[in-house]
Amino acid sequence: MTPAAVGQSIEQFRERFVRITQEVGRRIVGHEEVVNLTVTSLLAGGHVLLEGIPGVGKTSLVHTLADALDLSFSRIQFTPDLMPADIVGTTIVQERPHGGTFFEFQPGPIFANVVLADEINRATPKTQSALLEAMQDVSVSVGKTTYKLEQPFLVLATQNPLEMEGTYPLPEAQLDRFFFKLKVMYPSEDGMHEILERTTRDAETAVARVVDRSTLMEMRHVARSVAVARPVQSYAIRLTLGSHPDSPYATPLVKRYVRYGASPRAAQALVLGGKIQALNRGQAFVSIDDIRAVALPALRHRLLLNFEGEANEVSTDTIVDELLRGIAP
């Protein structure tokens, strides 16, 4: 690849990125940053946990994204009685046309490019754990057979932060597998006007498929080619290490309220997210600002608070903000 080709790749990447976000924005109102970061996660090969009160457009966002991408899509409504086999699939007995029976694997809804795990915290941990292998290794093991999932594979999970009754908080291992945790906030007054105008008419806003699978994979490849200088990478590492209470980079809030800090996956998310942010700016290098732009969604769900933090209802966003202020770039 020549430097000239690099320049073209960057321009193409940026153009496609903008097209995806614009297409999603035709249906989703007032959540530009959420859309941007969701697409970033998609291009980085990570999964997204969307958290927000009911009715703010979490599910619609995932639907719209799936519509904009020429990818297979499936939705799993997580309920307390949902079983792992309902997600990954099961082996059933089939009859042969000429007599006799055989076992055949019936793939579950997880066999899709984009999977919406709606209300993921309503399923039991046992069922939630069915996603672990799929999310990390992009494969599913049933019996003695392991089935590879088709790339790109993206899990977009939603959860409601208010209703805690009858829900099962996601285990740490599950949370850590989400590339970003995005908070879908309540729309503004102008956004509400826009939502009403779009959704209370007879005509439905159509979303075009702007990116196919191969293009998406190419974009992923481009994203991983961006150069990262060692000082910038060092900053990402220091941010990750600083979330541990026994680290020399730890801030006072971390020392007081955090039991366990972020895993190395957080550093990966910081750098990969930074790369895509850099490409989205049309640059071939990652800057400190790119890292900082993705620090909050990459770290907030990876901090495990201690008892004091839980009792004082300390927000992990506050702790990450302090990390960003306290650790010199």
Partner: protein
Amino acid sequence: MKRGLADTISGMHSAAETVRARVALADRLRRRRETSRRLWRATPAAAALCAGVAAGARWAGWSPLLPLGVLGLAAVALAGYAYASGRDRAISDTTAADIDGLAGLGGELRSASWFASHDGHDPWVDFHLSRAADRLQATDWTELYPPVRARRAKAASAVMAIVALALVLIVPGPNGLHASVFASGAPGARGRTSLPAGVLPADLQKQLEELLKRAEEGPAASAGRALTAGEVRDLLAKLAQARDLRSAKDAKHDTNAAGNSIGLPGKNTDLDELSARAKRASEITSLSPEVRDALADVAEKLSDMADAQPSSPRDPSEAIGAADAPKGDAAHAKNGGNNYDDSSVQAVKDASAGGGIGVIMMANEDGQPAGEPGLGLGGASAENKGGGRMPDFAAALRKETIASYKDDTGEKTTQDIRRKTDRATATVAYAGTQPAAFDKGRATAPPAVPENRRAAVRTYFIRKP
């Protein structure tokens, strides 16, 4: 922009070098600016220091090389700092980040600087470097780091340096202001002439030295001009006249504000020397007996003049009271400083314990009993009259107390004087005193308390509970 980018891409091998060069240039300008700011912050202070040293050297009569040396040292130090700061050095990431932040390059310079300083070939890195090189070349670094003007600092430094040089080079006098002031015979100046200014008139001193020279050479070397007793007596008369004139001046000077008198020189060794020469000349047997007698008188007169020359005070405040202080043991005890010391107080206590004799033994400066003990304030070297010192008041008051006590008894008493020995209290002496009638004439009034010391005296004698 695209054309420039293409050109840079075609010369890809130089992209890293260009980045390094531009970052180094930016760093050089940045350090130069920072160095200039620091230098112009320090230069006025250094110049002021040099001016101060020059003024001090002028006043104290130090060598003029000292301020010049300080000036040169300061210049060398500042130049050395400027040189050390201006040398090329490796660009650290912190430096690159600072430059990047000031130039608003969004981290491109910082990242490119790191990649340019590390080996590795990658199309993305090359592309990054080429774009960074284009952007850095388009950046006007002199606008980002303009030269420091510091007009006020420059003006202040120039003025201070000129003042320092003027003090060293232009102000006349080889030994500085201090020496020139005293050499001019200003009041209170510490002269360094052979004789103290004003002790002997110059012509009289010349005559004296000439006469002594003639006496020492003897009649044979006088070439017909034998020294006569009349000449010596004339000189003796002039000396007496000069001494009287000097005494009158001293008296007038003492009544005036004595603060102007920083101090005449101490006991004059030159007068002593002249006196000794005259004494030796009086022992030359080749001279006539009359001449020898006259020379002996001259020697005695010079010795008296040397003794009468007041001691030099240690400081101006001491000189103020020196003329007014009573000469006596108590005064001697006071001469050591402004504060009455323990030895003098103890001496007064001893005198009190001595009973009716009223002997007051005061310590002198060296802590030794001053001269021959006597009654009351008397002392061996009591010459000055007046008062105003705490020990004097204490001594006078003690004397009054003792005298009153003795006057009140009216009977012959025997009083044992006991002293503490190492083993016990023992009677060492008996003193009998003759009963005396009360005589007010014996009660001398204490010296007048100067107005400015009354508060101190009141505080001294009236103790607060």
